[in-house]
Amino acid sequence: MTENGMFGASDSGDTSGYGGLVQTTSTTGSTERPYGGYFDAVVDDLERAYPEFSQAIERVIVDRGELTLHVKREKLLEVAMILRDNLKFESCMGVSGIHYPENLGRELVAVYPLLSMTNNRRIRLEVSLSDSDAHIPSLVDVWAGNNWHERETFDMFGIIFDGHPGLTRILMPDDWQGHPQRKDYALGGIPVEYKGATIPAPSNRRTYK
């Protein structure tokens, strides 16, 4: 991904000179071992319990004291089963979506926070999807509580969870068009007049980098 400029608003003249900066940020590569805390033990245990670890896990990231495993979509169900049965992650705290329209080929991201009450541990699974093929295996068979969370992520992002027992909208009305949490879905709103001045709708206000 490339990024232009460094700070400030984009709709006025650039007086700082920083607006001409072009930065390339890398989204590949893993964190180096040791990860610290119980993260090494979790990754070791998963490697032992799952022979296909190197093919299934694209990246291992430790950031701000949290462990994220980037899982290939095709292997998600297997990894989830092993995490539940062998590594004792009994509960999944749902799924959250993220939409990165600039990240071509990996526009949609599904994030699963897992919790092990037995070992008092938390990890996170992350799966990237292409917008043109937004299918991901459902984890309802692994953790029944993911049912509504997956419906919500479908509703909000349009990610299709294959194998979900009833993937319908949950928060928006059934006949709603579009998926509101995607970045290309406008917030809407109208300008409001207050004490003689007009304040634009939130989505039309000036943004700062």
Binding site: G94, R122, P202, T207
Partner: protein, 445 residues
């Protein structure tokens, strides 16, 4: 010309006959149904129904009075808070998240602010006094939230007096909130880096008096309900959910603790300095509505204990800061209390308007642009009165959140309705849903 039938009018659809019952006309409905051969009846309960805890819609399939299938319909209170936050700066987000689960606003704010602090890497820089105030406010909030759970839960099962007692206690807490933050609910009091402002003068003795009063008052409800034979009949063995069911459904909070597992994030994954307080994790082993009721009753006393310890700490920390020292993050936190509630800090206005142009520029930039948060994502969970409230916060390095998702315990726990109620009596659904204590503002966000 068709004559409108005011008593349970019916129309034919492909799914069968549909009756519109408006209340008071159940007898005519039963007469009509009695003449058909159909034994299976589908009833829409809610979204406007006094016993569904807000705008929750339950679709019940009944055979006689036995419930064979339950489906929940939610979304009637969806306000797009998660979407709206993406168009505001990080600090403004607190005014949105506080409105999600409106019975526990301070927990929403704390989860959100702790997540931002983790992203900023300033978790250890948050002043101790701010953390202690957060803990005290959260525990007061837990009392007011449990009071609504107990009061409305009892009311829905037909007991009116406990509701009066519960709302009397809740009023005490809301008055304290008003004194401290200026607002009774939706305070946006907890801010990234600390709290909005310090406690007003004379707050600590007032809170101590309130704690004493509440400890005395709580006895009214416990003598009324604990061991009460009608109450036991309506709650014991009702809404059964065991540990295996709770973990696969991701259930947390009092419902999980009613299966006997002492899982409380304040103990097992402490935040805001909870490791420095003495309190017990309350459990029950009955897996039913009565167990959850007892847990909430006993958690009140534990919250009072934590508040007392927090007040002791606050007395020692008198005059300490309540906002991080970094002025690039800290909003002006020294507001003045005007006659009509909160006002601006006159000293701050004097400085930015009269003496320092740099201060004015800084203030303007901080308030309009906001501060930048380094790119990354975190998940921060707190133990809300209903269970694990998780904030998944993603930053792209800008002045606005890139994505904020709240894993609300009500949303998740409401999924247990079917497991708790199918096969039981229709009247027991009310008790089961009340024991989950869902708040639809949090469910729908």
């Amino acid at each position: 010309m068709t004559i409108f039938d005011p008593y349970a009018p019916s129309r034919e659809t492909t799914e069968g006959t549909v009756f519109s019952v408006t209340g008071g006309d159940w007898d005519s409905l039963i007469q009509e149904i009695g003449s058909t051969k159909e034994e299976r009846v589908v009833v829409n309960m809610g979204p406007q129904h006094p016993s569904t805890h807000g705008v929750l819609r339950l679709v019940l399939e009944l055979e006689g009075e036995t419930v064979t299938e339950v489906r929940c319909g939610i979304g009637y209170l969806h306000t797009g808070i998660e979407k709206n936050i993406e168009y505001r700066n990080w600090t403004q987000g607190t005014t949105f998240v506080t409105r999600m689960d409106y019975l526990s606003p301070l927990f929403n704010e704390t989860a959100y602010c702790l997540a931002i602090e983790k992203l900023l890497g300033i978790t250890s820089d948050v002043p101790e006094r701010a953390s202690v105030i957060r803990v005290m406010m959260m525990e007061l909030n837990r009392i007011s939230s449990h009071m609504v759970a107990l009061g409305t839960g009892a009311l829905e099962l037909g007991a009116i007096t406990p509701m009066f007692f519960a709302f009397r206690e809740r009023e005490i807490v809301l008055d304290l909130f008003e004194m401290i933050s200026g607002l009774r609910m939706n305070m946006a009091y907890i801010r990234p880096g600390g709290v909005q402002q310090d406690l007003p003068e004379g707050a600590i003795p007032k809170i101590r008096d309130a704690v004493k009063l509440m400890r005395k008052n709580f006895k009214d409800n416990s003598t009324l309900l604990i061991g009460n034979s009608i109450w036991l009949k309506r709650t014991q063995g009702i809404g059964y959910l065991d540990l295996a069911g709770a973990t696969t459904l991701g259930i947390t909070g009092p419902v999980l603790r009613s299966t006997g597992l002492p899982w409380d994030l304040r103990k097992v994954q402490p935040y805001c300095g909870y490791e420095g307080y003495n309190f017990d994790v309350i459990t029950a082993d009955t897996c039913d509505v009565y167990g959850r009721f007892l847990i909430r009753m006993n958690e009140l006393e534990q919250s009072l204990r934590i508040i007392e310890q927090a007040l002791d700490k606050l007395e020692k920390l008198e005059g300490a800061p309540v906002m991080v020292a970094d002025k690039k993050i800290a909003w002006p936190a020294q507001l003045a209390l005007g006659s009509d509630g909160l006002g601006n800090s006159l000293n701050h206005i004097r400085e930015i308007m009269g003496t320092s142009m740099e201060s004015l520029i800084h203030h303007f930039k901080l308030v309009t642009e906001g501060f930048r948060v380094p790119a990354g994502q975190v998940y921060q969970a707190v133990e809300s009165p209903r269970g694990e409230l998780g904030a998944h916060v993603v930053s792209d390095g800008g002045t606005r959140p890139y994505r904020v998702h709240f894993r609300d315990p009500s949303f998740n726990n409401l999924q247990a309705t079917a497991a708790m109620s199918e096969g039981g009596m229709i009247a027991d659904i009310i008790g089961a849903v009340a024991s989950i204590d869902p708040v639809m503002g949090g469910v729908d966000r």
